[in-house]
């Protein structure tokens, strides 16, 4: 096949990718969109395989067989609660693939992947740098999410300076390569530096900030693919890599806003060095916290017109999604309107809680994002907060001195009654007491999330049947 024909097919697959992402703008068209993107990938792969410059298929087959087996196993076995880990791994593999392609291009003396000249060398250098950082950075992120590594920030004094020096070293190696002075040894030093940088950039970032990190590494994996496209002058790599890079950057920004963190703050670790001025939990809670029982709350729910459920990741950890859905079903059968109010960081990655609820067969039009639901809390009879804490903390609105001041929160305290299902009064990730728990209109339901929801549904059913009798 001639080169221009190949490029036309690459254009087709780029168009299919764009159409696929467009499909993802609505749940109804999303399955088709994903399929469309997959067809785009198939087109790109088949056209490449038919390319006359491919001389041997043995290496390709071996690699594809290994990759496809692992891919199928991962995709079918993964628990939805572990999606962030899987995405972290996929980010890393994407970066690793671009890294391997770049090194192969450097070593190749002829053929379609060989690169030379100023542009080629700069592209190889950048692909190696970004690809390797993505590979090891994602591995560390995976380790933290899977709890193989401690979630707290790990580092040493001056790690920011260390990273800065390493980055300068990496860039000067790329300049050396571009000037045509570097051999294979120099390239391998660059690989080593970039692999170390991936680790030292991510270890100082705490577990709570992982959603930002995954989104950012997602972006890096796209940029690495685009950089690899510049090595070979391959248009489909450039376009698709750019799309993914843009996607990751936008999600990173959304997460940063939702968590009230600056991107620079997450990356260069300015986390909670203030300390000291933390509020005294006893003072906030003393004598004001009202504990309640499932029976009492079921009576409230009985007369409620509108109920909003605010889930956090604690809900998923207690495996309580289905129990919550059952409770919502019971309420809906009684004519009560039930809505789920979701904070952007309700799960462990962007949109994670939506997936967990969808798995429990909650309709997507009942899941409302924070901006949409906040104006309606004032007309809500009962809010049930389960497994969420910091994202409901009114200090973020009221206390200028608070570390979370300015963080967008769900204004649950404006509802008539707030029920908080929680094991104890312990603080969330931010380590702060939550004055919401001491409010006049707040009732605490202490206990295991799933257990409490089951008891609540049971009590509600009892009320319903005794009324009917």
């Amino acid at each position: 096949m001639s080169l221009s024909f190949v490029n036309l097919f690459y254009l087709l697959s780029a168009v299919l990718f764009i159409g696929g992402i467009k499909g993802l703008t609505h749940p109804r068209t999303a399955v088709r969109g994903n399929l469309m993107a997959a067809v785009g990938m198939l087109v790109a792969v088949v056209v490449t395989l038919l390319d006359q410059s491919i001389l041997s298929y043995a290496w390709i087959l071996t690699g594809a067989l290994i990759g496809a087996t692992i891919g199928v196993l991962m995709a079918t076995r993964i628990q939805m609660t572990a999606m962030p880990q899987m995405v972290a791994l996929l980010n890393g593999f994407g970066g690793g693939a671009s890294l391997a392609v770049a090194v192969a291009s450097f070593l190749a003396t002829s053929g379609p992947v060989s690169a030379s000249g100023l542009t080629g060398m700069i592209a190889i250098g950048l692909t190696v740098l970004i690809g390797a950082i993505t590979l090891t950075g994602s591995a560390v992120a995976f380790g933290k999410l899977q709890e193989l590594l401690p979630g707290r920030p790990i580092g040493f004094k001056g790690i920011t300076l260390f990273n800065g020096v390493m980055m300068v070293a990496a860039l000067s190696i790329i300049a050396t390569l571009a000037a045509g002075h570097g051999g294979t040894g120099v390239l391998l030093v660059l690989v080593a530096i970039a692999l170390v940088l991936g680790v030292t950039l991510v270890t100082p970032i705490g577990g709570a900030d992982m959603p930002v990190v995954i989104a950012l590494l997602n972006s890096y994996s796209g940029i690495a693919a685009a950089a690899a496209g510049f090595i070979m002058g391959n248009t489909v790599l450039i376009v698709s890599g750019a799309l993914v890079g843009a996607s990751g950057i936008i999600l990173t920004r959304i997460m940063c806003v939702a968590m009230n963190r600056s991107l620079a703050g997450v990356l260069f670790g300015s986390l909670s060095e203030e300390g000291g001025e933390s509020m005294d939990a006893d003072e906030v809670y003393a004598g004001k916290v009202k504990s309640s029982s499932p029976e009492e709350i079921s009576m409230l729910l009985e007369t409620a017109q509108r109920v909003v459920i605010v889930p956090g990741f604690g809900l998923a950890m207690a495996q309580a999604q289905h129990a919550v859905r059952d409770l919502a079903d019971t309420l809906e059968r009684r004519g009560t309107e039930v809505i789920y109010g979701l904070h952007p960081v309700a799960g462990r990655m962007p949109g994670h809680m939506n997936v967990l609820l969808a798995e429990a067969e909650v309709d997507y039009d009942k899941m409302q994002p924070m901006e949409q639901i906040n104006p309606h809390f004032a007309q809500t009879d009962v809010v049930i907060v389960i497994g969420a804490n910091d994202v409901t903390n009114p200090l973020a609105r009221e206390d200028k001195g608070s570390p979370i001041y300015g963080m967008p929160i769900l204004d649950v305290d404006q509802a008539r009654t707030v029920v908080v299902v929680k094991r104890s009064l312990s603080p969330g990730f931010a380590g702060l007491p939550n004055p919401l728990f001491a409010n006049d209109n707040t009732l605490m339901l202490f206990g295991d999330g799933k257990q409490m929801i089951l008891e609540l549904a049971g009590a509600l059913n009892e009320v319903t049947t005794s009324k009917a009798a």
Binding site: V87, V101, I238, G351
Partner: protein, 95 residues
Amino acid sequence: MDMLIMQVSLFVLAVILGIELITKVPATLHTPLMSGSNAISGISLVGALLAAGSGDINSLWVSILGMVAVALATINVVGGFLVTNRMLQMFSRRR
């Protein structure tokens, strides 16, 4: 040089298009968006195929690195599209 400018233009336009598109994706679908875009970034498979199939006689390493890249990129493509499909099915299912 002309070629490079063309490619850079393509990159910049694709970034702008990406930003326009992605901002329209609702928060509900952000996780499938991430796994799906992961599958798309597996497009480096194209480069990997060219390297693994180059039959470069001067260096076995080109083929080996190509094979590693094919394996990693295939995990991304196959795993990414499959898991995205699995999630999206849950959203489209109606009781």
